[in-house]
């Protein structure tokens, strides 16, 4: 990476928090337009648009507003509910969904800071989940010890999978994007295979599901049986704090950031780039692996092929939205948890397809990846520079050759 042409990651990191917020707003607006466009009442109103244009606009507004209101009821606070429990249940659901996403995203963020595009949270999560499940149903131990072993196991599984990528990358220079994508397939197929062997398959079952983990291996519920929210959320919050310390206060974090920002200068200053690349991926994998334990030992209780859902991929978006900053990632993970929780309610209540949530999520990435687009939409203009940049070299070649006569 030469300093003149900032990489994709560099450009993402350089975009401000304002851009992140505006990207969310812009995505919701476009999402609203899509909801309106697919809404039946709105489409039927457009047939007489020229006669009564306000009907169309009103219908469109209602469609979007109702859908987003339903999403809010499903994700934050259900003001229509009759009991207090039902009112606050959506918020706890959001936090529950956010739990695995949070640690997985932190993993992606740490790798970003080391200059590594870690697409492999999915595979790392699966490995973590396999370790956590196996420890969870084979061992028979008392509660805190068993759970602790489960967490350590999930960390180990993810760390192995991530560390392998770091090691190959540092050793051979193979690109981490290719490595992580390929290892995602390996992890998924390994899981599918083991779920059909006695190692992980439930005895007596022909389906690819694991036995249930013991109660002593579960994260206890935080707010009683009515809510799914479990201790794993607090563990994830603690992990956020730890990653903040790692990246902002520790010497290892300093090394990771140095290697990520300028590998050459880091090497010249005596930083062992090999060690840092491997360690960054070990940490990234460990955090993603923890998400595996949060899935199985927090909510699912047993392992299936779909344990990772799309968490590993959403984690990339969350890390981008949070600008690889642990605190930013925390709030971004909450937002995405809310999408998951609210999307279902939205579909049930208004018939708006849950896919619209995916569209909004994708639009957020799109807008974040193109800060100038967001700035021009909101009329912010380019950030002021004290001095103009000299015209781009290519343009200059053409211009001096008289090409713009």
């Amino acid at each position: 990476m030469s300093p003149e042409t900032p990489s994709f990651i560099d450009r993402l990191r350089a975009s401000g928090a304002v851009v992140s917020v505006l990207a969310i707003v812009a995505a919701f607006i476009v999402g609203g337009i899509l909801i309106a466009a697919t809404d039946e009442k709105t489409t039927s109103a457009t047939t007489y648009f020229f006669a009564r244009p306000l009907d169309t606009l009103a219908a469109a507004w209602n469609a979007a507003a109702n859908s987003y209101a339903a999403m809010f009821r499903g994700a934050v606070f259900n003001y229509d509910a009759s009991t207090f429990t039902a009112m606050i249940k959506p918020l706890t659901e959001t936090l529950t969904y956010a739990t695995p996403l949070l640690t997985a995203s932190l993993g992606v963020a740490v790798a970003f800071r080391a200059g590594l595009f870690n697409i492999g949270a999915q595979g790392q999560l699966i490995l973590g989940a396999m370790f956590a499940t196996w420890i969870g149903f084979t061992l028979d131990l008392a509660w805190p010890v068993h759970l602790l072993l489960v967490i350590l196991g999930s960390i180990l599984g993810g760390a192995l999978w991530g560390g392998l990528v770091g090691w190959i990358k540092a050793r051979t220079g193979a690109h981490e994007v290719i490595l992580t994508i390929m290892l995602n397939y390996v992890a998924l197929n390994l899981l599918a295979y083991l779920l059909n062997t006695p190692v992980l398959q439930r005895p007596g079952s022909t389906n690819p599901v694991s036995p249930q983990v013991n109660g002593s291996a579960m994260y206890p519920e935080l707010l009683g049986d009515e809510f799914r929210l479990h201790l794993g959320f607090l563990v994830a919050v603690a992990a956020t704090a730890l990653v903040w310390w790692l990246m902002n206060r520790s010497t290892l974090g300093f090394e990771i950031k140095a290697v990520g920002s300028n590998r050459h200068a880091a090497r010249t200053a005596g930083i062992n780039t090999f060690k840092v690349t491997v360690l960054a991926m070990v940490i990234a994998g460990a955090l993603a692996g923890m998400a595996g334990a949060a899935q199985v030992n927090g909510t699912e209780r047993f392992l299936t092929e779909s344990v990772a859902a799309s968490i590993g991929f959403d984690a990339i978006t969350v890390a981008l939205l949070g600008r690889s900053n642990p605190i930013g990632v925390f709030f971004a993970a909450l937002l995405f948890g809310a999408f998951r929780a609210g999307g279902v309610t939205m579909q049930v209540a208004t018939g708006t397809p849950i896919d619209i949530v995916l569209v909004v999520q994708s639009l957020i990435v799109l807008f974040i990846a193109a800060p100038p687009l967001v700035r021009s939409i909101f009329g912010l203009g380019q950030r002021k520079k004290r001095k103009p940049r000299t015209p781009g070299r290519d343009a200059a070649v053409a211009a001096t050759a008289g090409g713009d006569k």
């Binding site: 010497t251 200068a265 200053a269 005596g270 001096t400």
Partner: protein
């Protein structure tokens, strides 16, 4: 062509890059624009060349006001420009590059390069350029590429040629050849605007000198003016160019390099059995044209190269095979040649860059945890001590000018007790005021009895700082000569003569001509 710029002002928002500049270039004269980096020379030339629209002021060619909307208009009016970074397409031939932007076709879109080839040959013969129209540009040496740029301008019938820092990329010999070319062009009536901050060249070639500082003309000078006077005018305060340094023979040998050989990824030796000694309290200057093994030499000492054989002993301890961290921690200070790539991390704050190679050592860190209070204190202290011009230690290094970035690097390296100090191109791209400061700090380190290696492609810097001078050519040491060796001898050695051959040849040349050497000027500014 007679060119007049009247009251040219160019503002970018609130920043005034050019402030009512007046300039008159007479026909057949070399007019030099002298100024530091960022003084506004390039902006002014871009205005003249039609790349920027002036905010105020007018341009007159032969007394008539003109208005350029782009380089095409400027070229049509007879103005040609050779940019500091060449505007050539490397995979095109010379003829294709010259034709670019002015392509003739035989109809049906087929290029007619024959006319261009003929024109190139004519110009090449007239000025002795020796340029083959069918050579690929990427295969040509830098000096020849520059001639292609000049040909491009001449083919378009330029009567006025702007040369923007033309010697920055040239070897001493190529520089001399360029000077001859400029004299010939001048003889044929071409006006030249010569942009430079190297006083020696400026004094040798100019008819008139205009000095620009912070976007304003601060004065004009005669080429016969004293170099010190020109430098002071350029910087805006008096500059003492002579460091007034004492020669030092050093004491005990501290660094012994024996048979050092580095093989690159293609299996070619970039450093070939190099043996050098550096004594305590002396500066060994390593001279040579860029790419003759200097980079590999210092990187080998720092443990940054692979496939290295031989021996590097510092105070009797073998460094070869140790990690860069071990070498740094054993007290080796290093200023890398490519500051922005290897010296600082642009995204990091100045404070963090100041601890880049001791972030894990007491008192910067304790138990794996950085100590922000110490890092902030250290930054304040170093910013003061090294006069790093910044508003805050929390600004990123990329916001600093080249000279200030280099001060950050130097401040960091001098924060420790050193047993060896290596500075590679310490003043490249650094303004005059900073050069003086950087040189003094390097000398001060030598005077603390530290062995110092200074690698430079600038002959003046080599001569100014070196107690002894080693010249590298194609990865071999051509000889080690005393610090006061003449430029001619060094130039010959840099072109591949051994010290003995170079001395003999220089003597012969001196007998043949009675001309005296020009007075020696120090630093990258001369």
């Amino acid at each position: 062509m007679k060119l007049e710029l009247k009251g040219i002002t160019k503002a970018f928002g609130g920043f005034v890059a050019n402030d009512s500049i007046d300039l008159v270039v007479d026909e057949g004269k070399v007019h030099t624009l002298l100024g530091e980096n960022g003084a506004g020379k390039s902006t002014l030339m871009n205005v003249l060349y039609g790349l920027y629209e002036p905010t105020e002021g007018e341009i007159l060619v032969d007394g008539k006001p003109v208005h350029f909307r782009g380089p095409g208009d400027a070229m049509a009016a007879g103005i040609g420009m050779v940019h500091q970074h060449f505007m050539l397409v490397p995979v095109f031939t010379v003829a294709e590059n010259v034709a670019l932007g002015d392509e003739r076709t035989k109809g049906a879109g087929i290029l007619d390069l024959e006319k261009t080839r003929k024109a190139i040959r004519e110009i090449s013969d007239q000025y002795g350029f020796h340029v083959d129209p069918d050579a690929l540009v990427e295969d040509l040496p830098v000096g020849v590429q520059q001639r292609v740029e000049i040909i491009k301008a001449l083919v378009r019938k330029a009567d006025l040629l702007i040369l923007d820092e033309p010697t920055a990329v040239l070897t001493p010999k190529e520089t001399d050849e360029l000077m001859d070319i400029i004299r010939q062009l001048k003889g044929d009536g071409t006006s030249i605007i010569f942009i430079s901050h190297k006083l020696r060249e400026v004094k040798a070639i100019s008819d008139e000198i205009t000095v620009i500082r912070r976007g304003k003309v601060v004065g004009t000078a005669d080429p016969s003016a004293d170099a010190m006077e020109l430098a002071s005018l350029m910087v805006g305060r008096s500059v003492d160019l002579s460091l007034g340094r004492q020669h030092s023979d050093g004491t005990d040998v501290a660094l012994e390099i024996r048979d050092l050989t580095v093989i690159d990824s293609l299996g070619v030796p970039t450093l070939d059995h190099v043996s050098l000694d550096v004594r305590k309290g002396e500066i060994l200057a390593v001279a040579g044209v860029q790419g003759n093994g200097q980079t590999e030499l210092v990187e080998a000492v720092m443990g940054l190269t692979d496939h290295t054989t031989g021996s590097i002993r510092l105070d009797g301890v073998e460094l070869l095979g140790r990690s860069t961290k071990q070498i740094v921690n054993s007290g080796v200070g290093y200023v890398p040649e490519d500051r922005s790539t290897d010296g600082v991390i642009g995204d990091f704050t100045i404070a963090d860059n100041l601890i880049l190679n001791r972030y894990d050592r007491h008192p910067v860190a304790r138990g794996g945890s950085l100590q922000p209070a110490f890092i902030a204190e250290n930054a304040e202290a170093k910013i003061g001590e090294f006069d790093i011009r910044t508003q805050s230690a929390l600004h990123t290094a990329s916001q600093l000018s080249g000279g200030n970035q280099q001060k950050v690097v130097l401040a960091r390296e001098f924060s420790r007790e050193l047993n060896l100090f290596i500075a590679s191109q310490p003043t490249r791209g650094v303004d005059v005021g900073s050069i003086e400061f950087l040189h003094r700090r390097i000398l001060a380190e030598r005077d603390k009895d530290v062995p110092v290696i200074v690698v430079s492609t600038e002959l003046d810097e080599v001569a100014e700082l070196g107690d002894r001078i080693a010249v590298l050519f194609h990865g071999k040491v051509m000889g080690i000569v005393p610090g006061n060796t003449s430029r001619d001898v060094l130039g010959l050695m840099m072109a591949g003569s051994t010290a003995e051959e170079a001395l003999a040849e220089a003597d012969a040349a001196r007998l043949a001509t009675t001309e005296n050497d020009e007075p020696q000027l120090p630093g990258g500014i001369a």
